[in-house]
């Protein structure tokens, strides 16, 4: 956006472009190489569309061997590499570099094996998130992380950003569900980390790789846990006359010892847009709406929903409605999953992803309202309330450079607020280029330096996805 800068492109690389591409083709003859400007244009941005950059070239390998050959070549020639899955990053994680190639894993989309006894699947990194569940749903199993972009986003991208989703309150995020990866290091060396068993030997490299935004190596295969689906699941809707009451109800439900499988929050603007867009059956005369979903047998579900209804009664709910049918449940979720798209129909929006401790929820929503009013923007809030992961959508006009600049400042102020309240900058979207400079708000120089040393340990020359995650000054010596 307005204030974004990327590392200065290496002029020598730009000048040698023709020769580099010729040699790259030779190094990985079966990979698809996109060199023309029009083809590269498709890859110039990700889901953070305000930032664009035309890469040196785009290369699409279809095997680990080719990824290894490409990285080996780039390492030898000191060419930067930006890994990309489906390009759904909301933080600019896959934003290209002018002097770097984009290495796109989308052709590596094979499901390699499924084992329902050991309850694991091995997939190539370019497989979409929902393809795993689709492959095993017939046997009653599923892959738990379910980011909103799950139809499009790839498992490799999920690993890079440690993706979550609506159901991670119960089932955890990607790092809890990945057992192993095949990782190609920048040198081209291939290492297998973890595997089909629950624990891997040695240091927990999987903890480092999940959420490393493609900066430590390129993941080409992933072994994931499969879980048996519950007998049934059903949501209920709880409507309140204030955000405060809804927020307090969330804390009360969890405090009472119930951890629903999902606990989603929408404020009035979000409710209206979604209802208008999908017709999900949301009440329109409330200020805040909770979607609470529980799982189990019919009796278990009834018992839990009744209990949640009793807890909610202390907060003067305007609406308490249990879903009565599978169709109604599907509609309720369709509204939630379509929320970002629905708001996108209405206006450009800048989606934040800060996290706060649950007890700070009412205060956070109040302050976010103030901050947005100060910058003269409307805001809609839709988020995973159970884990305090906020998604304020700041509505603005992307074609107005002044608004663009203002919305960035507004977003940064909201994220600083999240950190001040004891939370963090990003719960599931990643730092990317977007929040790079804000890292200092959350971490000390020493903390950041320690993280940078890990980057250096895996990629000493900082060729993999540089210019992301860390403030631009680069590595410490």
């Amino acid at each position: 956006m307005s204030q974004l800068s990327l590392p200065n492109p290496d002029q020598a690389v730009l000048q040698r472009r023709g020769e580099i591409l010729k040699q790259l083709k030779k190094a990985a003859p079966h990979a698809i190489l996109i060199a023309d400007a029009e083809g590269r244009r498709t890859f110039e941005t990700d889901a953070l569309t305000a930032y664009r950059c035309l890469p040196l070239a785009v290369v699409l390998p279809d095997s680990t061997e080719e990824v290894s050959a490409i990285l080996g070549f780039c390492h030898e020639n000191q060419i930067k590499v930006v890994p990309r899955g489906a390009g759904t990053s909301l933080a600019g994680g896959a934003l290209p570099l002018e002097d770097g190639i984009v290495l796109c894993l989308s052709r590596m989309n094979k499901l390699l094996s499924v084992d329902l006894v050991d309850r694991v699947a091995r997939v190539e990194a370019g497989v979409t998130n929902s393809a795993i569940t689709e492959a095993v749903a017939g046997d009653g199993f599923f892959y738990a992380p379910d980011p909103s972009s799950q139809i499009a986003c790839t498992v490799g991208g999920n690993v890079a950003t440690n993706s979550g989703g609506a159901h991670c309150l119960k089932y955890g995020v990607t790092t809890h569900n990945v057992l192993g990866v095949r990782l190609v290091l920048m040198t081209g060396e291939v290492v297998d980390i973890g595997g089909p068993s629950l624990d891997a030997p040695g240091y927990d490299f999987l903890a480092l790789i999940n959420g490393s935004e493609g900066q430590l190596g390129i993941v080409t295969e992933v072994t994931v846990r499969l879980l048996k689906a519950a007998e049934g699941a059903r949501p209920m809707l709880l409507g309140f006359d204030s955000n405060e009451r809804a927020g307090a109800c969330v804390a009360a439900i969890i405090g009472a010892g119930i951890v629903p499988v999902a606990l989603e929050f929408m404020d009035r603007p979000a409710i209206h847009v979604c209802e208008h867009f999908v017709g999900a059956g949301y009440p329109l005369d409330v200020e805040a709406l909770l979607i609470v979903e529980v799982e189990g047998s019919q009796d278990e579900i009834d018992t839990l929903l009744e209990k949640i209804g009793e807890i909610a009664a202390d907060f003067a709910p305007l609406v308490v409605r249990r879903s009565q049918s599978a169709a109604e449940s599907a509609k309720i979720w369709k509204g939630r999953k379509a929320a970002f798209g629905a708001i996108g129909q209405l206006s450009d929006y800048y989606c934040m992803d800060g996290v706060i401790p649950l007890s700070a929820l009412p205060k956070a929503l109040d302050e976010i309202g103030w901050i947005c009013r100060k910058y003269r923007f409307d805001v809609a809030n839709i988020f995973h309330a159970g884990d305090g992961n906020l998604h304020p959508l700041i509505l603005y006009n992307a074609n107005d450079p002044l608004q663009l600049e203002r919305v960035e400042l507004c977003g940064a102020e909201i994220l600083k607020l999240c950190v001040e309240l004891g939370g963090c900058l990003t719960g599931e979207h990643g730092v990317g280029v977007e929040k790079r400079e804000l890292m200092r708000v959350q971490f000390s120089e020493t903390d950041i330096e320690q993280q940078m040393r890990i980057k250096t340990a895996f990629d000493p020359d900082w060729l993999l996805n540089p210019g992301k995650v860390f403030p631009l000054e680069g590595p410490v010596q």
């Binding site: 050991d118 629950l198 009796d299 018992t303 963090c424 719960g427 730092v431 020493t446 950041i448």
Partner: protein
């Protein structure tokens, strides 16, 4: 060298003091043995150290928010103390901490939370709820430069920067000295039911466990053990049965747990479920498992093997043809606890040869120091992973003063 680190035992009262000591040790290249209460100090390769650094005086709970499911504790706080605090609020550690104290010659409940995290030993509920590491939300630690670092935070979801906190889990104090940890906790399970089958051969026992995990009843613990081990359980009716035991646990609110156990029994009919334990007896049974009661008396070498359930029984039967072993299968066989005869290598050669054939890895949990000095206590890594291990060690502890050699030579 710029000074002299005092040899002996250091147990600083503050993080600042601890960081100062580590910085001093780094300056003087003094290797430190890092520990909490030291209940697991006999695990791993023998460490050559110039001084001992304990976190035992860093005790306290800066934050506990039951309605946020978050607990922040200083590293030296005893796990037992934290479990009491959680219980007062009807909460618990979801991963059901494994208590190795009793098999290593200590009493139960003595380990510190820091020691639990850096060794990452989860109990039977790990398969449903996740490992110790999975519940780490953030840490404060002192790296080998003597710098105090923070990573992660205290909220449920956090992808801000690299996940260094979880990476410290299972690092055995070789990367940094953990000083504080934020953990996710969960409501305690109110009702517990355990369905038992007796006398099943290993393949059938593991098959029954896998079947149970393939049901939607949120099975939260599955073990199968040989008769020789079952005899050592506290529950006399089970101990006196004289048969192998296959046990499956379900939990939830009372009506649900009862429903789940009755459905499980129907589905396991082919394995003849013969006994169902109520909450009280279940707790005693699973407490035995989490304290490895069946391995407490013998003092023989004890191995922890991580593998796939589908190969577990074959792996054990192949090994049993060569050495005499007593076996407990946990996590439907994904984890195997195995006692070997007190031979000089603790059975390492045969075990690792068998693992190479079937897949999986092994850690030697209990053995004489002489045995531990001569073999790989932790699973040897291939060259690529070993090189990464060395790089990451260097990134945290450049001069190699924190528990040097504890996991691997040179690390």
């Amino acid at each position: 060298m710029t000074g002299h680190m005092r040899v002996g035992f250091h147990a600083p009262d503050t993080v600042e003091e601890l960081a100062y000591l580590v910085a001093e040790a780094a300056d003087t290249r003094t290797p430190l043995e890092v520990m909490g209460h030291g209940t697991k100090r006999e695990v791993g390769r023998p460490v050559r150290h110039g001084a001992v650094l304990s976190t035992e005086n860093l005790v306290g709970v800066p934050i506990y928010e039951p309605s946020e499911l978050v607990l922040v504790a200083l590293a030296g706080t005893p796990v037992a103390q934290l479990e009491r605090l959680l219980a007062e609020n009807d909460q618990e550690f979801p991963f059901e901490p494994l208590d190795l104290g009793p098999v290593l010659g200590f009493g139960p409940g003595q380990s510190t939370i820091g020691g639990l995290i850096v060794t990452n030993f989860s109990g039977s509920r790990r398969i449903l709820r996740g490992s110790v590491r999975d519940h780490v939300l953030g840490v404060q630690a002192v790296n080998g430069r003597g710098e105090t670092i923070r990573a992660g935070g205290r909220v449920m979801k956090n992808v801000t920067g690299y996940d260094l906190g979880r990476a410290l889990a299972g690092s055995w104090g070789t990367l940094a000295v953990m000083t504080e940890v934020a953990l996710k906790v969960l409501p305690a399970q109110r009702e517990m039911r355990t369905v038992l089958c007796f006398g099943l051969a290993d393949p059938n026992g593991v098959e029954a466990l896998c079947l149970a995990h393939g049901t939607p009843f949120e099975v939260s613990g599955t073990v199968h053990m040989h008769a020789a081990l079952a005899e050592r359980l506290s529950d006399q009716e089970i101990a006196n049965n004289g048969a192998a035991v296959t046990a499956i646990r379900v939990e939830n609110f009372p009506a649900s747990a009862r429903y789940r156990s009755s459905r499980l029994k129907q589905m396991l009919q082919a394995y003849a479920p013969a006994l169902e334990l109520d909450t009280l007896r279940s707790r005693a049974f699973w407490d035995d498992v989490r304290r490895l009661k069946m391995f407490q008396q013998s003092g023989r070498p004890l191995w922890r093997i991580s593998t796939s359930p589908s190969v577990a029984a074959k792996l054990v039967s192949s090994l049993a043809r060569k050495i005499d072993v007593d076996v407990l299968y946990d996590w439907s066989g994904g984890l195997i606890w195995l006692e070997t005869p007190p031979i000089s290598d603790a059975g390492a050669v045969e075990l690792r040869r068998t693992l190479a054939e079937f897949g999986g890895h092994a850690t030697l949990i209990r053995a004489e120091a002489s045995a531990r000095a001569g073999i790989d206590v932790f699973q040897p890594l291939d060259a690529g992973l070993m090189a990464l291990t060395a790089s990451v060690k260097k990134a945290f502890d450049p001069v190699g003063i924190l528990n040097p050699g504890r996991m691997y030579a040179g690390i």
